[in-house]
Symmetry: C2
Subunit: 552 residues, 2 copies
């Protein structure tokens, strides 16, 4: 195999794991706590998860566990968007499985949950896994976004599992995929099939976390990759001294990525969607806030800067939210009529009679490119594709217009040259940091111990992550414990509650305490590229978010 030098060298890395996972595998025994409850809507959830609701939290301890050595067949699925470290979850799971019993087998389903439904699987052997250790990507078996929802899909999944004579299934995914894991676990129990289902917390967005899941894997690597780029751009801005960079960052609804990157790089501004929603900050106000920083820095002759913008922002700005929702409604109802109008001006005229005057006025004032994205880029349900909206360009355009007025008024005396960026795909498949490599391997290994201990409907949990890996606490948490009921496509569904940025939390408070200074002064940090081989203080630090949350 002809591969890059780093890739070759990374195979040699041995992930650091919790000391409980070291040594002989038959010496790991599961200790259970008290029965648990869901975070809300307990009765409804008990009804849905009749057989799997309310199990106790599991923690691994020392003790003889002969059952761990039985021969097992396990399937594994990579679900949803890529996150660095997925390959190490599989490697950890595989190594645990083979330590338990060398005859045990691991199957990988191809292309995500769809591979389970359609019975597309390959056996993952030692030789197959070897070249993927400590590497990024989900390319070992691919990923996919198929959601197992219909009765047919559930039945097909069971059929596949039975055909392969699986003892267990590991689903590596985000909140939705882990909700799916819980539903599958319950379904298998209901059908009397002894197929266990275990989840693993994956997502670069960082929004799958709670008391027991301190962070989802991939968040560390993605944030550090983006922070490398932001730092480089900041250093460029501070050298050329003539550009304002507006950098939009992937991360869906939550602003965890933007916040972590801000803590790592200290930009002049970082918009936090959760704050915009909480304080009902209007688009006009947001533009005004940015202009304030630009004007003050221009007074110090610093006509450059960097602003971070979370991908999901537009949905949190009150008037944009209203406009998008009105557009979605109109399009859903009258898409045929709308699609016949070919000119942009004609579309605007048509809409002027269909949406509220306030929303129409907003639509008119948006830069044409953005208005076009709102009208043209729609998903198959007619919904605006929010992630496709170039929010950075929206803000660049509006700030530019506002500054022109402030210049006329003599308030602004600088020169404004904005440049836009979007970072996302660059970070989802980076080589995992040592942290993510260690964490993922530990998660995979823990998933095996949960399986070997006969548990189902659990998510692998590795805690105390700000400490050295040897002190990490491994175990599992019942998935129902993280759930509540939420409205989805017109009906109440059980879902794992998404963790948004907590405005009372340590990370936001640390940012809030510093941001007024950063807005005016140049306090940029330049983290540089992720390092795998250097001193521990460079290579083995978790995110600032994790540290600040655990220190609280």
């Amino acid at each position: 195999m002809d591969i890059s030098v780093l890739q070759k060298v990374r195979y040699g890395y041995t992930p650091k794991i919790p000391s409980i996972l070291e040594g002989e595998i038959a010496d790991i025994l599961v200790e259970f706590g008290q029965p648990t409850e869901a975070i809300a809507d307990r009765d409804a959830l008990k009804e849905i998860f009749k057989r799997s609701y309310g199990k106790p939290v599991a923690v691994f301890g020392r003790g003889r566990n002969e059952a761990i050595g039985r021969e097992l067949k396990v399937g594994v699925i990579l679900s949803g968007g890529q996150a660095p470290g997925g390959h190490n979850v599989i490697a950890g799971l595989f190594d645990g499985l083979k330590k338990g019993n060398p005859s045990s087998k691991l199957y990988g389903f191809l292309g995500g949950p769809g591979g389970l439904v359609d019975n597309k699987a390959v056996e993952l052997t030692a030789g197959k896994i070897e070249p993927y250790r400590n590497t990024g990507g989900f390319d070992i078996i691919g990923s996919g976004r198929t959601k197992i929802e219909t009765p047919q899909q559930f039945a097909a999944s069971l059929q596949t599992a039975k055909k392969l004579m699986l003892d267990a299934l590991v689903i590596i995914g985000g909140d939705d995929s882990n909700t799916n894991a819980a539903l599958l676990a319950e379904y298998f129990l209901e059908r009397g099939a002894s197929i266990q289902v275990i989840g693993c917390p994956k997502t670069i967005d960082g929004d799958l976390k709670n008391e027991h899941i301190e962070t989802s894997f991939g968040f560390d690597t993605a944030c550090k990759t983006f922070s490398e780029l932001i730092g480089n751009i900041q250093r460029d801005a501070n050298s050329a001294k003539k550009y304002w960079h507006f950098i939009r960052l992937m991360g869906r609804a939550a602003s965890h990525i933007a916040l972590e990157c801000a803590l790592q790089t200290r930009p002049n501004m970082c918009v936090i969607s959760e704050e915009v929603e909480e304080k009902e900050i209007s688009l006009t106000q947001l533009v005004e806030d940015i202009c304030n920083s630009v004007v003050k820095r221009a007074d110090n002759r610093e006509n450059f800067g960097v602003i971070l913008i979370p991908e999901g922002l537009v949905e949190f700005i009150p008037e944009m939210k209203k406009l998008i929702s009105e557009l979605n409604d109109v399009m859903a109802a009258k898409e045929d009529e709308f699609s016949k109008i070919t000119s942009f001006a004609g579309q605007l005229r048509w809409l002027s009679r269909k949406i509220s005057p306030v929303s129409y006025k907003l639509l008119e004032t948006l830069p044409p490119q953005i208005a076009g994205q709102l009208l043209l880029d729609r998903d198959p349900h007619g919904n605006v594709m929010v992630s496709r909206i170039d929010t950075e360009k929206l803000l660049m355009g509006m700030v530019e217009s506002r500054l022109a007025r402030l210049k006329e008024e003599g308030i602004y005396k600088g020169k404004f040259s904005p440049l836009g960026h979007f970072f996302g795909y660059e970070g989802r498949c980076a080589f995992p940091t040592n942290f993510d490599a260690d964490y993922c391997y530990s998660l995979g290994y823990s998933a095996f111990v949960l399986i070997a201990s006969g548990l189902t409907g659990y998510i692998a949990s590795v805690k105390n992550l700000a400490a050295p890996a040897s002190e990490w606490i491994a175990g599992g948490v019942p998935l129902t414990m993280m759930m509540n009921m939420e409205q989805r496509h017109g009906s109440k569904k059980p879902v794992i509650k998404k963790a948004l940025v907590d405005l009372e939390g340590g990370p936001f408070k640390a940012f809030d305490a510093a941001r007024d200074t950063w807005a005016v002064k140049t306090m940029f940090h330049y983290p540089g590229a992720i390092q795998y081989f250097g001193p521990a203080e460079v290579c083995d630090q978790p995110t600032k978010t994790l540290k600040l949350e655990l220190e609280q």
Copy 2:
């Protein structure tokens, strides 16, 4: 100073240097070759560079050199776009200067050549330089694009140099800045001022190279930063299996960056502008070539891929070149008239009577966003700002249209979801690789030895760069040796000849031999982030371009 951990640790790095530069500085003696000639237009150049033309190449050897210890005052300028390693050139220059005589002084001119004209300088002390060692950026003194052209600017430069009682000036810049260095050297000689001028070869674009300058500094780091990102995106493409990524790369006219990144990452396609020009490949043909790869990969059920596009491409496509030139002419002549037309449709109508039918037809078929960029984004001279044209979007749009037709014809059976990226600012200020850190420090140190040896109109030269640093050959090359005369703004000017990609050279040939396979099969390489501390095969490799060129 509150700085990132990597930054702290990088201060501790000791650049590797040629063995001739090790040991006592007074033991370095300059050895001269034969007088040299310019690459063309020798008579004209002799006329312009009466006093500095045709000096011999200088190579450092062993020998007692007491003159090296005289007390000196030296000024240094960072000129033009940032390139990783600039701070190390200054550090090497400073260390040489202080080794020669601890009383010598180094001044940094602020904000580029403009700092010399306006006499804005700061003394660069050991304490000031320390925190910038082995870091990216030009922020120690800033950079700028002012060109010293007018008699007033030359006079002001001389005045500043006299005021500061400078013995020498070091200009760190690209081809234009080094041409400027040669002109300043000649000007100072003509005025009888004993101020020496030495250049250093800087540019991430890699287009300042020749027999004596094997590579410009920064090219290594920038290409490796871009290759990290391209590799990550490729791994993402190969995991999600649903996107075609069109990645435009900075690099001005030359395609060296795109070519090096292609050699490092093995994308499905990489357009080389120099080939497009040489073979007169039309836009239609280019789109057809891309579609060929997309169609063939779709036949293999691989509806994803990565295409690299050099920033300067549009200027090399024959019909685009013609269109841009016609637009520039019309706008230069009738800008007032054009600017009064407010609607895009009206502008098109107006242009239909002003440019050739062929060019007008092309303009009409371009995606509206691109046509808009051609008409709106213009520099103060009315010229189209080629670097602002989203060539990746132009190609994405045209490929999408063409594939729709191929689908109707039953030739294409896949699904095409394109995503665009532009990388440039991310790489200009990255922490320099060990190679660039070593090379830059050696260049700066060599610049000092050239100064201490009384030379002027030279550029620092460090050769044999594919070998370990101890075997590098240090010296200097007369700037006039790299020059010819070229048409600029209506008259013949002396310029350093830009090195474009050589279609007969090793790097292009290596690419050409592999590209047909890459176009269809997934042969992606994932280089990962730049490493500073690991094994030498990961941390100390020069670019593939450099190796292939030197192996020829």
